[in-house]
């Protein structure tokens, strides 16, 4: 119940009591606790290194001659070879920038779609009274957990009949219809934390619901909208299943589909170039992680709870 606070209170971060020393330690055990703490840090650092190592190895491998990639597990190298980036960039039918742009286009459409459609629905669920509200709300919650596989075949048939296969419409239009119900829920939670007095005052002044939504709620919801935008970005950028199904023309390929065809075409030869393009494909996610971490952590903490 309380996690909502993390997201509804602007400026408060999910920062589990950092800096507060644990428990009460009697004077005599201070040496022991210092040893324990050192061991703990050593263990954590080791684990962090092991986890990050494959990523670092991938970065180093992308600037290392092919002959060295699998012979040296270490991260140091005498010779650098940046040519993998140029060969990889041009290895497929179109330059890699095409795929980045294609993915970017789908991400942009999905983000805009989710922001509009989910915030509209969330306002209704959080602030309006209407017939069958509980049923609608339950339906919304259940669809969060629905596997996409039950829908994919008829969706494919539907979109094929509309002539939408090999366009980005099957990937973008559903977002304008709020099919990512998770974000509706996230925003409902957020709106519930906004004092009702605000919109009641506006109602008394004669403002319509649409005005309250667009001029009071949306500005106050910026943190929830940011979380939605960032998660939509990452999930759409990484999405492979539906892009593989709906995009089969090479010049429409998105980044994940292009990378996959890269494995096929290069077979087992140019690993450096494959690594280089893999890294290029991860850079946007990494940037979002760097600059949007606050919203990511808030969002993910809000999804949990009782």
């Amino acid at each position: 119940m309380t996690e909502t606070r993390a997201i509804t209170t602007p400026g408060r971060r999910v920062e589990p009591h950092a800096g507060i020393p644990s428990g009460s330690s009697p004077k005599g055990s201070s040496l022991r606790s210092a040893v324990v703490s050192t061991l703990k840090h050593a263990g954590l650092i080791l684990l962090a290194l092991v986890m990050i190592y494959p990523l670092l190895w991938m970065v180093v491998s992308s600037i290392r001659p092919n002959s060295e990639i699998f012979t040296t597990p270490g991260l140091f190298s005498d010779s650098f070879d940046f040519s993998h980036y140029t060969t990889g960039w041009n290895a497929l039918a179109a330059p890699f920038s095409t795929y980045l742009l294609n993915s970017g286009l789908i991400v942009l459409g999905s983000v805009i779609g989710n922001l509009i459609s989910c915030s509209l629905a969330a306002y209704a669920f959080a602030r309006l009274n209407f017939k069958l509200k509980t049923l609608a709300f339950v339906a919304m919650l259940v669809t969060i957990m629905l596997p996409i596989h039950v829908l994919i075949v008829p969706q494919y048939v539907l979109f094929a009949q509309l002539g939408w296969v090999n366009t980005y419409l099957p990937l973008i239009v559903p977002k304008f219809l709020a099919t990512d119900a998770f974000f509706i829920f996230l925003m409902v939670q957020f709106i519930r934390g906004i004092p009702r007095e605000l919109d009641e005052a506006a109602r008394i002044d004669g403002a319509s619901h649409f005005r309250i939504y667009s001029q009071i709620m949306l500005p106050l919801m910026v943190p929830a909208l940011a979380t939605t935008a960032i998660f939509t970005f990452i999930w759409t950028w990484n999405d492979f299943f539906s892009q593989l199904i709906f995009v089969t023309k090479p010049d429409l390929y998105t980044v994940p589909v292009a990378l996959r065809s890269f494995i096929d075409s290069q077979s087992q030869s140019d690993f450096g170039a494959l690594f280089a393009m893999s890294i290029v494909s991860l850079v946007p996610i990494f940037l979002v992680f760097l600059f949007g971490q606050r919203f990511l952590l808030r969002g993910i903490a809000t999804t949990g709870g009782k």
């Binding site: 684990l47 209704a124 919650l141 039950v150 075949v153 996610i285």
Partner: protein, 314 residues
């Protein structure tokens, strides 16, 4: 409150707001229709409609070119004799049952370890969280292929110590384990949820119990676990639902085949092969419904079992 908590409140008690709002219930119907129009259209046109159609297709023979032909229970009969389906179920169940508890266990252990006032917490948290953002990407699956390949990073490391590695990815005995490891690698997301949950446990509980002489382990069992149980439940349900649907990692690592020897033929991968490589759309729909039923059973079992171990303080 999580989506699950919300569902529980609605189904176990009454709606979250009943008496007070009942008077005004029919007031905003028209406005609500406007706000809900996109969602409703999506729910009917892109979710419920397709679900019903796929239920029908499950009893047909359909290859996209000719109209679906009703074949009664033929698809179900086919399932019963489908050896690849059996392999697929085995791979999927093994993956789900092993990787979900391992991932959650790691997440919980790390969350508890990080919770107790570490100054470098934000740094650790970021480093542990990053993989869960990358884990479902094609790039990381490619990386995994090369880390565990016959001449990959792991074997290169082992060679330094004079150990001859195995063909991790191309051997049916180990291929699935590499995918389980990949799932464990993404423990950061549930860890962050656990950390947020731990933060809500009042410090006084621990202080009072340590004055009474409780050990750390006892505190963990008697305070942390019960108070965190709703969050463990949430992570468990979502973890199961999610890992039943794993696709990208198996597809990339096995190059779309689900091999070697069907050992990584996850359910969604088999469904993809049947539906979108062999164009047996009717059979693929039947498989999709089987997946839905399996996930439904697992989720209900979870809800049922939660009565015995999940502690709600309301």
């Amino acid at each position: 409150m999580s989506a699950l908590g919300e569902l529980r409140t609605i189904t176990h008690k009454r709606g979250p707001e009943s008496a007070a709002s009942k008077r005004a219930r029919t007031k905003d119907n028209k406005v609500a229709a406007f706000f809900l129009a996109p969602w409703l259209l999506g729910l009917l046109g892109i979710t419920i409609g397709p679900m019903l159609i796929s239920l029908y297709l499950a009893f047909t023979n359909y290859n996209l070119l000719q109209a679906p032909k009703f074949t009664g229970l033929a698809n179900i009969q086919r399932m019963l004799g489908d050896e690849r389906l059996a392999h697929s179920l085995q791979a999927t169940f093994t993956y789900v049952i092993v990787s979900v508890p391992l991932q959650l266990g790691t997440a919980l252990a790390l969350a508890v370890l990080l919770d107790r006032g570490l100054r470098a917490l934000p740094l650790y948290r970021s480093v542990f969280y990053l993989p869960s953002l990358l884990g479902s990407s094609v790039a990381v699956a490619v990386l995994w292929r090369l880390v565990f390949g016959g001449e990959g990073l792991v074997n290169a490391f082992l060679a330094v110590f004079g150990i001859e590695g195995a063909a991790w990815i191309s051997s049916p005995d180990t291929a699935l384990s590499t995918l389980i490891l990949l799932h464990m690698w993404t423990f950061g997301a549930p860890m962050v949820i656990f950390l947020a949950g731990l933060r809500q446990i009042p410090r006084e509980y621990y202080e009072a119990s340590s004055t009474d002489g409780a050990t750390k382990w006892r505190q963990f069992r008697s305070i942390t676990l019960p108070l965190l149980s709703p969050i463990i439940f949430f992570n468990l349900v979502l973890g199961l639902i999610g890992s039943f649907q794993t696709f990208t990692q198996a597809f990339i690592v096995s190059n779309g085949s689900g091999g070697p020897a069907d050992s990584t033929l996850f359910f969604s991968l088999y469904l993809y092969q049947e539906g979108f490589s062999s164009f047996r759309m009717g059979y693929a729909s039947a498989l999709a419904w089987l997946l839905l039923i399996i996930i439904g059973i697992f989720t209900s079992l979870n809800f049922w079992a939660s009565k015995y171990w999940v502690f709600y303080d309301d």
